[in-house]
Symmetry: C2
Amino acid sequence: MLRQTHPPASSIGIERNEDPPRVASASFMSEVSARFPAQAPEDVDHGERALEAKLSRFVRLGAAETDALRQLGRAVHNVSANQVLIHEGIRIDHVCLLLDGMACRYKMLPGGERQILGYLIPGDIFDAHFIVFNRPDHSVAALCNSKIATIPIVRLAATIRKYPRLATAFACSALVDSAILREWLLNVGQRHAEQRLAHLICELQARLKIVHRVSKDGSFDLPIDQVTLADTIGLTLVHTNRILQRLRKAELICLRQRRVTILDYPRLVFLAGFDENHLHLLLQEI
Amino acid sequence: MLRQTHPPASSIGIERNEDPPRVASASFMSEVSARFPAQAPEDVDHGERALEAKLSRFVRLGAAETDALRQLGRAVHNVSANQVLIHEGIRIDHVCLLLDGMACRYKMLPGGERQILGYLIPGDIFDAHFIVFNRPDHSVAALCNSKIATIPIVRLAATIRKYPRLATAFACSALVDSAILREWLLNVGQRHAEQRLAHLICELQARLKIVHRVSKDGSFDLPIDQVTLADTIGLTLVHTNRILQRLRKAELICLRQRRVTILDYPRLVFLAGFDENHLHLLLQEI
DNA sequence: CGGAAGATTGATAACTCTCAAAAATAGTGG
DNA sequence: CCACTATTTTTGAGAGTTATCAATCTTCCG
């Protein structure tokens, strides 16, 4: 009855219901910091640019605003692949900015089934607002070794107060996030297997392009295994693998060594029924 | 290849891609008003209470706040079943408050497939923020004859400014909305057919109970046909019908004449894996 | 080199869809 | 109140998709 999408043992390191996350005795951040000491800011130029790049799609950013954004991402931490970033016990007075790498939101079912709810890419901010009574309604985990910056909420609030345009930009970004979630529901609910996968790839490329994570040839890193891919589009690992092979055989995409190359973009877009309108890419000055 | 979930002719009245919505020459509201003249406020006591009831789950509401909420819902309109409430052409300076009845958000695919993204029940507010460049990323339609109130955004903003608690309550409400969307993605992506339906029913009952739309015996109105139900849980009409019969045969629920009665709540909850935590029902004073 | 994780394959079962038609229900006008 | 139509629900049969189980092949990494 239950689909055994995952190997019995927690092979990918993300928390399973079978072994609940330990209660963090110390706060999340100090925990991370202990393992990965903060680095000098100059290491993360590239990462900080992602946030600017994303927000500048929504509003024109002046030098002051750009500078303010850079100030936000000073407290840098490295997190390792599969590390759970948000779970019970996290302090709620910080938000996290993903500077580099990739992470995901996900939910688990008692039987071990996992649904990925979204990918976090550089420039994305995630917080713990969805936690009430110490019970988050979903978790966030790094998909590969990543860099995150922690921003005290009061700090972010002050910045937003000072620069109304940033407030607008953050609001737009939140709207896009929820639009993506709706698109995912449509994807999993109504599209068939090939389309789901194709659509996901189109969307990821579009989002990554904005933050300069796509090469000239259109290829990009996708640091996830096929189990995670399967849990994203609501299919089994085995079936996902076969769908993947069909897309490869059709010479639409190439996925090797955690890197995707889109071989025939027009045909892939057509197959997926992809309309990047839902990413609101064209929005300027709301 | 394409699932023909819907009859070829637009039987349920919701816009299809085949016949795009006409461009509203007048604004949406004046359009509605013309057909259904606004009523005297005293008719809608029950409806307004829904919003209060919902928000009071999040913060304690004083008399002044309750009163402010009631002032919001003065401009009442009746809308008919299947009427599209949000589409291109809508004015973006109002939000809508559903006073009575039921509505849904949905997305369409070029092939005619439709995915319901969420149900709006009394006390729910929906706006057009997701519209940019005159292209909404999804639509909203009434599921049955309903009553809505339109609130100028400036008015809502003023109220929120004046009563910070209401701001908190609205924020919480928005968090719950997105939590529900995540839960739906989990539902459609990972649960099997019976569980999906069971989960939907549990969730609707929980939400409707808050706004006093559930009878003593636990039954509630569900003014939708099985096609809509199918488009909600990502299954075919035929299959949904069969699943429904299974739940009936198992004496878990009874669905007749657009009314659901839960016959065995504990067993239904168990089957669904329903955890009302995601509705954040217990939240008080964030 | 050896093990572990990840990807792939094959065979079979289960689930879900499609097509087509019949039964039941709701709505309407006489 | 009944006849009549349109909508909605239900049924049946068969095809197609997706899941499950189990094994093999690859790749990664110490």
